[in-house]
């Protein structure tokens, strides 16, 4: 299975020219699937009938020798005419076809989501459910008696599941529909259904269709900080939402360092943070201002650490400190003391506390 998936992935990579864009990869997959079906139909014409069925209205090929009803013959089953081998091959092809149709649906389910994370159970259900439905339809087919029996059995088996995302229900419905199509040997219908579904879903996700205009987009939330990050001189601005992908290695490193600093402020999981605040000093005289500020920190902070000195040309440099204030010292007292001690040497002093940072993160989430 793993090798198979690797093969599929490589093929998709090849056809999609290595693109990570979901729509490109989906198109690549369907091209591959189409080629496989064409090859099957070319080399084994019978497989087209078995797979796609063409419905019950498809004309039988002629001449067709009819079964002699007077000579003893195996009792007809509700599965219809055909040899046992044909039945087995048909069922196998139908089930494989169902899996091949549902695979991209699971990819879309896993990737095109607004709510972070997905349910593995739903993903597996999307593969398994249509197989079961197809099997049931293959068995029941035109038998009213079996249909009633099935209804009775299903009524006896009760299960209820709460789905996190209401859209998951749509996926479940889709998998049932594909199962029905497969069971009726009209996989062409299932194929059109899933292809349309996948692309429509991807496009609605891609363009955030139906978004309330008053709600800020993810892009707008990140535009400010990412723009300032990108605006390092090398690039003026990157207005695209794929900004992160377009960052230069240098910018990416810078972003990573800042995230690390915030992470250090917030502390590791279930571990008390060593530092609770970030002190930012902007100054044109870094060498002079630094000892004056640190003199105050020795007095007012329980612990502190010089995090980074960012030297700028044409605008004030920045000195970042990580610190934990003494319980008796407030933010204002610290900033007042710094301005008193190093007022002439610094342009500005600002203190971001852990609570404020967490509040900001919570608001943006």
């Amino acid at each position: 299975m793993g090798e198979g998936m690797t093969f599929v992935r490589r093929f998709v990579d090849l056809v999609a020219l290595g693109s990570d864009h979901p729509i490109s990869r989906l198109i690549a997959y369907y091209i591959g699937l189409g080629l496989v079906i064409l090859a099957l139909a070319y080399f084994f014409p019978e497989s087209e009938r078995l797979l796609l069925g063409r419905g019950a209205a498809a004309p039988a090929e002629t001449p067709l020798i009819l079964e002699d009803g007077l000579t003893p013959a195996p009792a007809a089953t509700t599965l219809g005419a055909g040899s046992l081998l044909e039945l087995a091959v048909t069922t196998t092809l139908v089930l494989i076809g169902t899996i091949l149709l549902m695979l991209p649906v699971t990819w879309v389910y896993m990737s095109a989501r607004h709510i972070p994370g997905h349910s593995q159970a739903v993903v597996q259900t999307l593969i398994i459910l249509p197989l079961v439905v197809a099997g049931i339809v293959l068995i029941v087919r035109d038998s009213l008696a079996l249909a009633f029996t099935l209804a009775g059995v299903v009524a006896a088996v009760r299960f209820r599941t709460n789905l996190r995302d209401t859209r998951d229900v749509v996926f479940i419905f889709l998998s049932i529909a594909v199962g029905f199509a497969a069971g009726m040997q009209t996989l062409a219908v299932g194929a059109v259904l899933t292809i349309t579904f996948n692309f429509v879903l991807l496009l609605t996700w891609r363009y955030d269709f139906g978004r309330n205009v008053l709600t800020p987009t993810a892009a707008s939330k990140w535009a400010g900080p990412l723009n300032s990050l990108a605006n390092t001189g090398e690039y003026d601005a990157v207005p695209d939402r794929d900004l992160v992908l377009s960052l230069s290695p240098k910018s990416a490193d810078s972003l990573a360092e800042r995230f690390e600093r915030v992470s250090e402020v917030l502390g590791k999981r279930k571990k008390k943070a060593r530092f609770t605040s970030v002190l930012t000093i902007t100054t044109n005289e870094v060498a002079d201002a630094q000892p004056l500020v640190e003199y105050v920190l020795e007095d007012k902070a329980k612990r502190w650490k010089l995090d980074e000195v960012v030297t700028n040309t044409g605008k004030p440099s920045a000195i970042y400190y990580l610190l934990r204030l003494r319980k008796s010292v407030t933010r204002d007292e610290l900033l007042t003391a710094i301005r008193d001690n190093a007022g002439e040497k610094i342009e500005n002093a600002d203190l971001e506390s852990r609570d404020a940072i967490e509040e900001e993160i919570g608001a943006s989430a």
Binding site: A57, E61, T62, L66, E67, A76, A81, S83, L85, D142
Partner: protein
Amino acid sequence: MKLLRAVATLAAATAIASACQRRGEISEAEASELASREKRLAARVAALAVDTSGGAVLARWVLPAELKEISGLAVTANGSLLAHNDEQGRVFVIDPRRGVVIKQFMVGKGDLRGDFEAIAVSGADIFLLLSNGTIYRFREGADGEGVPYTIVDTKLGRECEFEGIAIEAAGEVVVLPCKNVAKKSLRDQLVIYRWDLGGLASQRASMLTVPLARLIGPNGWKSLHPSDVAIDPVTKNYVLIASQEKALIEITPGGEVVRAGPLPEPSEQAEGVAITSDGILAISDEGNRQRATITLYRWPLVPVPLGIVSPPPGPLESR
């Protein structure tokens, strides 16, 4: 690699299945089987030529899924059977002696759908009947071909619901027995319309009525709902079957009852009847719980049932 191996195995299985199910040509073994079928049928016909018990089965052919809902039957000049299902305008040509679907062709471009109930043949023309009395007229086509058609609207749909059609050999007179009659005053009658395709517009339809009491007799039927009609090529009598009552009726064109009794075999849903010129009665059975079939019987069923005295026929009305 395992997946590739699985795909290769599947492809091989498909190839085997394809080979097993290869159609479009008849192998030597199949040709031999068909020849023996023909011989068997001939032997049975010969054996039954002196048999007067009636109802003996000559052959029974199990139909493909496409004819699961077989509706009408008709015999062509060369002895082939024409059959169709009740939803699609597609006609199957069947060799009844060998049990082979020789070909099939579509009425129109293949997407013609309707409540098709019966089929009849007159010379080169084929007539396909809708339950509302509308008739599609066309010629036999090649295998897979769509044939052009013309529509004849008898406008009899308001009078009754039809399920059977036959053509009187004397001319272009269509025989249409009513399955369900609209007029209350005629509900105790078997109503058969005759529609003259070449007559004057005002004189095209005439009606033959036979009191149901005369037909039902000792059979215990509550009513009679003919599901198809055929014309005996020898006597020119009307031979009707009724699916609901599982009845087989034979009356003369003048309305005299020749035979009124049960079908040769209790069938699930007898929908079509045809009689060949060499004395074979074909009845199609939709077979609700089983697969659809065409069963061949020796015709006439002999002997004519006794005890039923044919009353004078009902009035022959002109419309």
